[in-house]
Structures are given as structure tokens and as C-alpha cells.
Symmetry: C2
Subunit: 468 residues, 2 copies
């Protein structure tokens, strides 16, 4: 059961508000309320900004108001950048003002003992009475780069708009991880929802919303706890039929679950049950932040393969052995190639070379050079119908866009065969090649294990969809 | 049973030759024989260099000789940078010249069908007759940065000398991996032995040699196959009693083993048996290149902890939850801290803060700022006797040497408590902080899972040594 049209529209308002009030907006750069306004300016938010601060008449160029009740127009979203103890009062103001969407950034609620729990109860009572939806508390809230809206207090200059949407529980993920991604990755974000303690708006609602959001190609989730497991897995099962979902679930261990409860008041639950339900739902489980991004990227960039068959081309037999291990461990199969395929390589290689799968292209490079050897090798591998996907592994021998063009050309010739790249070599050249490849939606990994895991995830999704 | 004094001296000659002849030395930068001479010049090799090339009188500034027989002085090591089919003849020259140590770089031997196998038989016959030891074939051979010697054809400008020694099977690891390490890591190499097909000199000999090599603090091994498993595990069992050994064993899967046989003529063997024997021997198994370096570094930089107890300090509850999961998964234990410990933090934090283990330091930062909060937090954690090790997790909020000094100072105060750092944030700042920390032998990891795995490996080594 998905959401009603009204429910979807309410979630959509969180990503496309025409007006936003920032309670606790400030001219002091060390305050969260400063940064929220700053971020809206940085992202070129096209709507109305109403700073709320009883002690200021103007903040960062915008007329400030003592309370939301003093704002002359209607307000789509209220972002509360003030401590927990004042929030019940602000909620009552929002009720009187007729606000329907709020984001509460502060911590100090259910996770913070009896006092915090009392605040949360009060806030929820007002919300129920006033028909107000709440994102948070204890989070960074929403981000929609293509519209220029955010509620986050984590300093952001620009955030690339893209195809990957992200539901996260904690500020860390909308903060540190966002910084890591904007500075080190080429993909962009479609929509980010930081849900925090999830006292109201929950994962499954955002999932249904993103399922019908055309620009969202892949959904990543970080969660410590899920408030309503039944609704969550029901949503997941429905959404994974059309879009890949990758889940990083923290609070797996005893110590982790204890920490989750004191952090986001989450009941982490039994991890074995969660894991089993996740598998059934067709979602993919990530083991770390890195893994979440590795898998998110591969679903975003590459097509699903047509079968289990795989291959690797490398300049080193040793690298090929490691690739074979990793690919097989991830459920892919390195079949012996046809004599026709092998003879294309063998005919041009030194007499002593014995090409096989994985393909060590080094002998051929001694005759025709690096670029021609890789070009012939990759095209020949992909021409074999036992090869449904391929890892291209090379060192920092290639250093320019020209030299790696063979990968893009091979992809054009074989658009249904996903290609992942693994580069090991000089750090600065790796960094440059990474950008050149990823800008063209070819995923690059620093180890063959990570490349193989990504291709394996594509193949398992193919199998999952085939069995539906 | 270790090696005899003569055997050790013979291995030592491979790392400290007073003279080296490079057969196939060349003025053509595209030839392996060019690069070997070039590398010796780059590394400032202090011994005599004799280029062997019948078509040249001088190569890269050194007088060239038609054959090793024409060299007027004795030769400690002969590096053969020529194709396999001419090597039996060169070996006969070496026999007549009285050479005792050779390195064969070329492939095209046992891994390359009947013809190659015939070459290898012939080479071994001559070696036996002449009492010649062989490293290789099909490899890059030796590297000793502190002495300035190498036999490798992989272009090297400089290689930092350091504490980590490395036994590898294939050129890839002395090539691509070396480039990755010299350009992206701060640690240096003590000695590197690339053994290739291991037709003669084998892993266990280098292991015994490195065990008694004072400058070697940690030994890393990459192997596709082990020629004499009994001797290998016997050596391993003996060496791990004094030095940590980390093993990356490739050729684990069916496809990987097949590839290993065609690559380095290795019998990869049953991986389950290998794995069990490795555990018994006290060595640590790495799962990838990244893992090999992660673990090598941690053994090189940090002391073993005194117990299982661990902790994490972070600016985000979410990061703490992930840390707790990862630490527990790696056999470490997050105990509840004493009231005395917790009250030190609580007394300075906002009233709503409830410090615990893992420690979310964010509340305290709101009162005393980032640096003071982390300083107090880390020192307080380490003062608790239930904390034997700690992960310091932070974003790119810290940007200078000054700001991260608290980690170094805490290490000085608690020298028996290993500290690993995990940073997630802006890429360029990560790169800078990485250098600042690692230069001071504090290991930095981009995910908390990798940091936790490293601390877990230290603790397992402590347990292993305690049970001896």
C-alpha cells in the first residue's frame, strides 16, 4: 500500500517549499541558525526566506521576524534551529500559523532521558492537534540540490544535482559523508532526507515518495533503527521492483545497538531478522559508508548484465588472479572463452603467450603497446557471449582522456555489458583518471575486490528481478 | 629449523651486492634492461654496475660488456632482463664466471607450456651444477631502498626506506602496488623480495632472513602458490613469534587457482587448508591489497593493546554506532565506563548530554569547542582502565597540525594504548591530515570498519602471543 496523493504532496512540499522560516536564524557564524540561512543562499534557493529571531531586524540580508506568527505570508516549511526546551512553544506558534511541515534540527528529545522525552511528547501532541508533519528531531533534514533547497546546518557551498537519493538517520551522514561525496565523487544527489529520531515522518514514506520521483535512479538508506518494520519492509519490497535500494544498517552489534538507543533513540532490533527481511525485500545490504557509495554508484552508472559470465583484463597475471577470486566470491563466473575469441588475442601476441580468462594482456602489449592491446583485448572479451560483464584493471600507465577512450568506446559497442574499472598506481594520476572515468559514468575502484562486489550486486539484482 | 649462516649470507647478498651485472641493459627506454639500470642510478646504488649488451660499448654512462665473462671483476648478482629462450646460455656464462646469485625477470618458463618448461629445466640444471641461487623467473626481484639496490624494471624515482618488508609473488605487487604506496603512503620499505615463479629461492628462506633482519618490523606476503607448504608454515610459525606477518593469498577460488597456474605456474592448493594452517601459524590473513597495507601499517605504527577493551570518540552519535558495530565485530569489547570517567565529561557538557562508550563528543563541543572537547574526551577515555585502545573519528573540522596535536599528546601519555584515526570529510583536507598523522605513525583510515579491523588485528596478535 503506497501513500495517498495528499501524503505524497506533503512529502513533496519538504523538497520544494515556496517559503521557509528559519527559527533561530542568526548572524553568528557559530550558530546552526546562521548556517541554515547561509546554505539556502549558497544553493540559490528561489523561494522566500523568513529568519525568525526576536533580537534581530535583519539577518544575512533578509528581514527578520520575532516569531513565525509575525510573518505576513504563509510558510511552507519551518526549520527549527533552536534547543529542544523552546521547541514546544515554537510548535504552538506553528499550529496557530497553520504551518504543516516542520524540521526539528536539535537533539535533546527521546534520546536524552525523561526531560527530553517530555519535550517530544508535547511536540507530538501539538503536531497531532495541528495536523503538522515533523522531520526529526536530531537531524539535518532535507536537501534538494536541483531546486536549491536545504534545511541542513552543515556548511555546504554547492551540491551537484544528480540521480542518487539518500535517506539517512543522522547528521553525520548528511554532514561528513556529504562533504566526502561532494569533494571526492562525481555523481550528484537527487534528494536527501535526514530523518533523525523519526518521531513522525518515517523511512517508508520517503521510500514511496522517491519511488515515484522520476529523477531518482537509486535509493541509498542509512538507518540505525526502523520505527515500523512492517511498513518499512512492505515499502522496500514494493520499491525494489522498480528501483535499486541499498541499505546500510547500523546498530548491528550489542554495543552498537546500545549506542543507537542513546544516539537516536532507536531500537536497533535483532540484526539477523533484519538481514533476512532485507534479503527478501530485494534490497542490497552495504557493510560500510564506502560500500554504500560503491554500490549506489554502480546501480546509477551501469546497466544490469544479461548473465553470470564475467571477465577481467589486466596488465598483470597477479592482478588477474585476484580479480578471478573476487569475481567468483561475488557469484560471477569466469568461463573458458571460445577458441575464436582466444585466437584473436593469440594471433597478435608473442608465441609464448597463452591468453585465457581472466586475460593477462601484458604479452600483447609487448607487440602493439598499451592502448592497442587493451583496446583489442577488451573488445574481444566483450564480443564473447560467455562474458556478460568485465573488470578493466590497469595501473597509472594511462594518463589522459585519449588513452582511456577505449573503455568508453567498448561500452558504446556493448551497451548491455557493464564495465567497472580498477586502478592501482600513483595517487595523483589515480585521482585524475577517477574524475575522467566517473564523469563518463564508468565506476572506478581502488581494489579489484570492490569492483567485483559492485558487478556482483548488479548481477544479483538481475536475478532478483528475473525471479519476481 | 632456520637457515644456516651460509644460506642467510647468500640471501643477504641479494640485498647488498657490491656489484651487479644487468644482462640486456639497454639505451632504449622501452626495454626492461634500460629501466633496471635507470632505477639503480635513481636509487643511488653504491656498488659497481656492469651493463651486459653485445651491441653497445657504453650504456647510460657505464662501460658495457658483451657477456658476463668479459667483466674483469667478480659479480655478486646478475639480473637477466632478456627473453626466456636466451637465458639457459646466460646461465652457462654465469656458471663459468662463478656467479652465485641471479635474478631472472622474464616470463616464458614453467607457466608457458612445454617449451617454457624445457627452458626452466635447463636453467635449474645449470644452477644445481654451478651452485647458483635463482630469484624468479617471471618477477621483479629485489629492492633494498636503504642500500640503494634494486633489480626491478618498474620505473622508480625514489623509494622511502622504512620498517616494512614485503615478499611478493608477482611483478604487479612490486610494480603497481609499489607506485600506489610510494605516492600515497608515508611508511617506507625495509626490503622487498619479488619471487615470481619461485623455481629456486622460496618464501620460507626470505621469511627466516627477514626474521633476523633488525630493521624489519613487519612482514607482508603476497602469494599465489607456495612451493613447499611444510617449510613455509614451519617458517611462519617460527617467525610470527617475534614479528607480525600478514599474508594475502590469491588463487582462492576455482577461477583464481586456474589463473594462478597459468600466471606463475603456482599450485594454489585447497584454500580452506591454507586458511586453517595460516591461523595456526599465527599469521594474519589480508583480504585485499588495501587490507594488506592497512594491517601492515597498524603493526608497524602501534603497540599491542593490553586487553580487549576499546572505545571510540566522535562528533556524531551515528558515527559512534557504526564504530561500535565494527569494533565488536573485530573481537573488541566496548565496556561501560566508570562513573568517575563519565563524570569528567558530563561535568563540562550541557545538562542534557549523557556521555557513554562510544563517546559522542558533540554536546561538549557546544561548550568548549572542537579541539578542547576532543582533547578532554580522548584523555578521559584513555584514563579508564576498561579502555585498552581507541578510535578517534572526526570530520575535516580539523585542518592543521596544531589542531590534531591532541592525538599525539594522548599517545605520549598513554603509550600502551593504540589509537587509530578515521576521517570522513572533504577529500583535499583528508589527504593533508592523512600525511600529518601518518608521518607521526598514527594510522588513518577512511572508514571506521577499516580502523576497527586494524585495532582488532593488534588485539588478536596480543592474544596469540599470550597463548604461546
Amino acid at each position: 500500500m503506497s501513500l495517498s496523493r495528499e501524503e505524497l504532496e506533503c512529502i513533496d512540499l519538504y523538497f520544494h517549499p515556496e517559503s521557509v522560516a528559519v527559527v533561530g536564524a542568526s548572524a553568528n557564524p557559530f550558530k546552526f541558525g546562521y548556517q541554515v540561512v547561509r546554505n539556502l543562499i549558497n544553493l540559490k534557493y528561489p523561494g522566500k526566506i523568513y529568519p525568525i529571531n526576536p533580537k534581530a531586524s535583519e539577518i544575512q540580508g533578509f528581514k527578520a521576524f520575532p516569531s513565525v506568527l509575525d510573518v505576513p505570508n504563509s510558510i511552507n516549511v519551518v526549520v527549527m534551529a533552536v534547543p529542544s526546551h523552546v521547541i514546544p512553544n515554537i510548535m504552538r506558534d506553528c499550529e496557530r500559523k497553520g504551518v504543516k511541515n516542520v524540521v526539528i534540527l536539535a537533539s535533546g528529545f527521546d534520546e536524552a532521558g525523561p526531560e527530553g522525552q517530555a519535550y517530544q511528547r508535547e511536540v507530538l501532541e501539538v503536531a497531532k492537534r495541528g495536523g503538522i508533519r515533523i522531520v526529526g528531531p536530531n537531524t539535518t533534514g532535507m536537501l534538494n540540490p536541483s531546486f536549491g533547497f536545504t534545511s541542513t546546518f552543515v556548511p555546504l557551498d554547492t551540491v551537484k544535482a544528480g540521480d542518487i537519493s539518500f535517506i539517512s538517520q543522522t547528521g553525520m551522514f548528511a554532514g561528513m559523508m556529504m562533504e566526502w561525496i561532494v569533494s571526492g565523487q562525481e555523481f550528484g544527489f537527487r534528494k536527501v532526507a535526514g530523518l533523525g529520531n523519526k518521531c513522525d515522518v518515517a523511512d517508508h514514506e520517503i521510500l514511496y515518495y522517491l519511488a515515484q520521483d522520476e529523477g531518482t535512479k537509486v535509493i541509498l538508506i542509512h538507518a540505525e533503527g526502523i520505527k515500523d518494520g512492517f511498513k518499512f519492509f512492505e515499502a522496500l519490497k514494493s520499491v525494489t521492483k522498480t528501483k535499486p535500494v541499498v541499505v546500510l544498517k547500523a546498530g548491528r552489534s550489542k554495543a552498537g545497538a546500545r549506542a543507537a538507543s542513546s544516539h537516536s533513540a532507536s531500537l536497533a532490533g535483532d540484526d539477523q531478522i533484519f538481514d533476512a527481511a532485507l534479503k527478501q525485500s530485494g534490497a542490497v545490504r552495504a557493510e560500510s559508508l564506502e560500500d554504500l557509495v560503491d554500490l549506489g554508484k554502480v546501480f546509477c552508472y551501469l546497466p544490469l548484465p544479461l548473465g553470470d559470465g564475467t571477465s577481467c583484463i589486466s596488465l598483470s597475471g597477479g592482478a588477474g588472479v585476484m580479480a578471478a577470486d573476487a569475481l567468483e566470491r561475488n557469484g560471477l563466473s569466469l568461463e573458458e572463452l571460445s577458441d575464436e575469441t582466444l585466437s584473436v588475442i593469440k594471433d597478435k601476441s608473442p608465441v609464448w603467450a597463452i591468453p585465457s580468462n581472466p586475460l593477462d594482456i601484458e604479452p600483447l602489449t609487448e607487440i602493439v603497446g598499451f592502448v592497442d592491446a587493451y583496446t583489442l583485448g577488451l573488445n574481444t572479451l566483450l564480443s564473447d557471449n560467455k562474458v556478460d560483464s568485465c573488470i578493466v584493471q590497469h595501473g597509472t600507465i594511462f594518463r589522459s582522456e585519449d588513452e582511456i577512450r577505449f573503455v568508453l568506446e567498448a561500452r558504446e559497442r556493448y551497451p548491455h555489458k557493464p564495465i567497472a574499472v580498477c586502478i592501482i598506481g600513483f595517487k595523483d594520476i589515480y585521482d585524475e583518471l577517477f574524475v575522467l572515468y566517473e564523469r563518463n559514468k564508468i565506476p572506478v575502484y581502488p581494489t579489484v575486490e570492490r569492483a567485483a562486489k559492485a558487478l556482483g550486486a548488479l548481477n544479483r539484482r538481475r536475478q532478483y528481478l528475473a525471479e519476481l
